[in-house]
Amino acid sequence: MTRAFTPKIVTANALLEGDVIYLTADDRWSRNLSEAELIDDEAVAQLRLLDAERQGGVVGAYLADAIAGSRGPKPAHFREAFRAKGPSNYAHGKQEDRKHV
C-alpha cells in the first residue's frame, strides 16, 4: 500500500531579511502562510521546488507538510507553526508585523 501524499507548501527565507516566505500559486513570495500554494501532487511539488530554487532573493527553499484550512494552508508540524508565527519569548517576527496591520 502506498502512503497517502501529505500536501506540501514551498517555503524559504528571504535573502535580505532572513524572514520566512512562502511560494504562492501566482509565483510570488508571500510572508504569509495563508497565501501559500497548497500542492496535492508529489510531482508538482518537486517541480515547484525546482522553480523556487531557480529564483534569486531566496535562501534554502524546501517542501514542508501543510494541511488545508478554511483560510489557506496551515502548518502540519510545530516547527512550521513557529516559523509562521515567530519566537514564543517575545512578540517579534511575524507576530510583531501583524500587530502593525
Binding site: 535573502l15 531579511e17 535562501v59 510545530f78 519566537p87 514564543s88 517575545y90 511575524k94
Partner: protein
C-alpha cells in the same frame, strides 16, 4: 586588558572589507547561496528560523565598559534592542539584516571585536573561567595564555579546515568554573614543585555522544603550552575522521584510538615542533601578562557594605547568593543575574548593557565578564561600593538574587530561534523559574543547576546539569527527556537518563516532583541536591518522576 595592535587592527579591517564585497556579490546574484554560506559562516553569520543571527566572540568572556556599550549600540541600531549571551561566552544578535552586517562588523572592529571563527571547523573562541584574575582560589590569571591561544589560532593556516569545530577552555584555578572537561582541549592550571603549569585534558565534548575529557598530560610547564596545544591539534587534524560528521570531533578520535595512543602521537609531534617555537611565544606571553596585570585595588573602609547587610534584608539576600570571594579581602566578585524570573536566560536589553557598562567604569575597574552560565560578572568591586552597585542593578531589572539557584538556568535558543532545534527550550526555562518563584522554594532548595537544550547537540550543556532537560520531537510533538546527576565541575559527570520523556505541559510538573522528592529525602538543608543524589542514587527520584498508577490516582 588586551587591545588590538596594528596588525590585529589591519587584519580585522581587511576581513570586514572582504565580507562587505562578498555580501554585495551575494545580493547582486554573482554569488550563489552555496558559495556564500561558508563565507558568511566564517564571519559568524548564521541563518536561523526567522532571521539571520550574528555570533560575536567575547574572547575569554572579558569586556570593557566601552565594548559593552558598543554591543548596546549595535542592538539598538541594527537589531531589536537586546542581545543574547551564550554558554560559549559569545553574544548573539537574533535579527540583523544581511545588508547591515558589514556595518555591524565595522562597529565591532571600532572597539577591537569581531565575529571571526565563531563558526566552522576551526578553533573557536577560547573560553575561560569568568572569575579569572579575581577569584580567591586562583593560581594565576589564565587570560594571558587564553589571549596567546587566540592570537595563535586566529587565521592559523594549518587549522582553518579541521575535521570539525574545536573548542578550548582554560582555567587558572583548581576549582573548575569553565567546564574544561567537556571541551576538545581543557587546560586546568595546577602547581607542581612551586611551578605553575597545566593539566591538559583532551576529548571532552557534549552533543550526541557526550564524553568526559581524559588527561593526556598531567603536568605541562607553562612555557611548553603553545607547542603542546599545537601538537594536539595537528595530531587531530591528521587522525580525525572526515568521513562522518558525527564521528569527527576529537572526542571520537580519542575514544577510537585510546588515550595512550593519542598521548604517544602528541608527545612525538611535540618533540618535533617545540624547537621551532624558538621563544617568540614566550616573549609574546610576557607582554600579554603585562596587559592583563591586576588593577590598582583601592584602599578604603568596607563599613558601608556591612551596614547595608544589617539594614537591608533584600541586599543581604542578594549579597549571599550573587557575591563570590575575591582574592583581595576588601573586594568581592559581583555576579549580575540575567535570569530574572520569567525572562529569557542570557538576554540583556541595550539599556541593561549600558547600566552594566557604567557600573564597570564607575565601580569595577572597567572590567566585565560573560559567564558560560549566561550571566554577567563585575570581577573587581570594592565592598564599599557594592550597595550602590546593587541599587543600580535593582532599578534596572538586574537585581535578581538567584546565582546558582534553581532559576539560574542555562537554556539554548531552541526552536524559538535555532534551525536545528527539535523543541523549544526558552519557555521551559521561563516556566520553571516562574513556578519556583511562585512556590517560594528557591532559597530553601539551595544550589541547583538546571540546563536545557533544544536538541541533541547539547548547546545548553544539559548533560552536565544536576537536572538536565533535552527537548526532542517525538512523532510531531515536543517531548522532554530528563537526565539526573550531571556535574560540570572538575569532577565532571554526565547525567543519567531518568526514563521516558514528558510532554511540554508536563515537564515543569516533572521537575517539581524531583525537587519535592529531594526536599523530603535530604538529610538536612546542608545536603545539596547533587549530594543527596550521589548518596541515594537515581531510584528515589525516578520513583517520584514516574509514580505508580495507584499512587497517581490517590494523589
Amino acid at each position: 586588558m588586551y587591545d588590538y595592535n596594528d596588525f590585529d587592527e589591519q587584519f580585522v579591517r581587511e576581513r570586514v572589507a572582504q565580507f562587505r564585497g562578498q555580501v554585495e556579490r551575494r545580493i547582486d546574484g554573482s554569488l550563489t547561496e552555496d558559495e556564500f554560506r561558508p563565507l558568511r559562516l566564517m564571519n559568524g553569520l548564521y541563518l536561523q528560523l526567522h532571521a539571520y543571527m550574528l555570533r560575536v566572540a567575547i574572547p575569554y568572556g572579558t569586556l570593557t565598559g566601552a565594548r559593552m556599550r558598543q554591543l548596546a549600540m549595535i542592538a539598538d541600531r541594527w537589531d531589536k534592542g537586546y542581545g543574547h549571551f551564550t554558554t560559549r561566552q559569545n553574544i548573539q544578535f537574533n535579527w540583523p539584516e544581511l545588508r547591515d552586517v558589514p556595518e555591524i562588523l565595522e562597529a565591532l572592529a571600532d572597539v577591537g571585536m569581531h565575529a571571526i571563527q565563531t563558526s566552522g571547523n576551526t578553533i573557536r573562541n577560547v573560553t575561560a573561567d569568568h572569575f579569572a584574575g579575581a577569584a580567591a582560589d586562583e593560581i594565576e590569571d589564565p587570560r594571558p595564555v587564553a589571549e596567546l591561544l587566540r592570537q595563535w589560532s586566529t587565521d592559523h593556516p594549518e587549522f582553518q579546515f579541521l575535521p570539525r569545530k574545536f573548542k578550548i577552555a582554560i582555567t587558572g584555578a583548581p576549582r573548575d568554573r569553565a567546564v574544561t572537561r567537556a571541551h576538545d582541549i581543557g587546560l586546568r592550571m595546577i602547581v607542581r614543585d612551586g611551578e605553575p603549569g597545566f593539566e591538559v585534558v583532551v576529548g571532552g565534548g557534549l552533543g550526541r555522544t557526550p564524553m568526559v575529557g581524559q588527561v593526556v598530560r598531567d603536568f605541562l610547564p607553562k612555557a611548553d603550552l603553545l607547542p603542546y596545544v599545537e601538537a594536539v591539534v595537528s595530531v587531530y587534524n591528521l587522525l580525525g575522521r572526515r568521513d562522518n560528521k558525527y564521528k569527527a570531533r576529537i572526542k571520537i578520535t580519542v575514544h577510537e584510538n585510546g588515550i595512550d595512543r593519542i598521548r604517544e602521537l602528541v608527545e612525538a609531534r611535540f618533540e618535533q615542533i617545540r624547537p621551532m617555537f624558538g621563544g617568540a611565544d614566550q616573549q609574546l606571553l610576557a607582554q600579554l601578562e603585562q596587559s592583563f596585570s591586576a588593577p590598582d585595588f583601592l584602599r578604603k573602609s568596607t563599613d558601608a557594605y556591612y551596614s547595608a547587610r544589617n539594614a537591608d534584608p533584600v541586599f543581604r539576600s542578594w549579597a549571599d547568593t550573587n557575591l563570590a570571594e575575591h582574592r583581595d579581602p576588601d573586594y568581592a566578585i559581583v555576579s549580575i543575574s540575567l535570569k530574572a524570573h520569567g525572562a529569557t536566560p542570557g538576554d540583556a536589553t541595550s539599556d541593561q548593557m549600558r547600566v552594566m557598562a557604567d557600573l564597570a567604569e564607575r565601580f569595577g575597574h572597567n572590567e566585565l565578564r560573560i559567564s558560560h552560565e549566561q550571566n554577567v560578572i563585575l570581577p573587581h568591586v570594592h565592598k564599599a561600593d557594592i550597595p550602590a552597585v546593587h541599587a543600580a542593578l535593582k532599578s534596572s531589572g538586574l537585581g535578581t538574587a538567584n546565582i546558582g539557584l534553581i532559576s539560574d538556568i542555562i537554556a539554548c535558543p531552541g526552536m524559538d530561534y535555532c534551525a536545528l532545534a527539535t523543541a523549544r527550550s526558552i519557555p521551559v526555562a521561563q516556566e520553571i523559574a516562574t513556578r519556583f518563584e511562585e512556590l517560594n522554594l528557591e532559597h530553601e532548595i539551595g544550589p541547583m543547576k538546571i540546563k536545557i537544550s533544544g536538541c541533541i547537540n547539547a548547546c545548553g550543556h544539559h548533560h552536565v546539569g544536576h537536572i538536565g532537560i533535552l527537548g526532542l520531537d517525538r512523532a510531531g510533538v515536543e517531548n522532554y527527556q530528563i537526565t539526573l546527576g550531571g556535574d560540570g565541575t572538575e569532577d565532571t559527570v554526565i547525567g543519567e537518563r531518568a526514563g521516558p520523556g514528558f510532554a511540554y505541559d508536563e515537564i515543569v510538573n516533572a521537575v517539581e516532583r524531583i525537587v519535592r522528592a529531594y526536599l523530603s529525602l535530604r538529610s538536612d538543608a546542608s545536603e545539596t541536591f547533587l549530594m543527596a543524589y550521589r548518596r541515594l542514587g537515581a531510584q528515589p527520584f525516578k520513583d517520584a518522576l514516574y509514580p505508580k498508577e495507584d499512587e497517581a490516582d490517590a494523589a
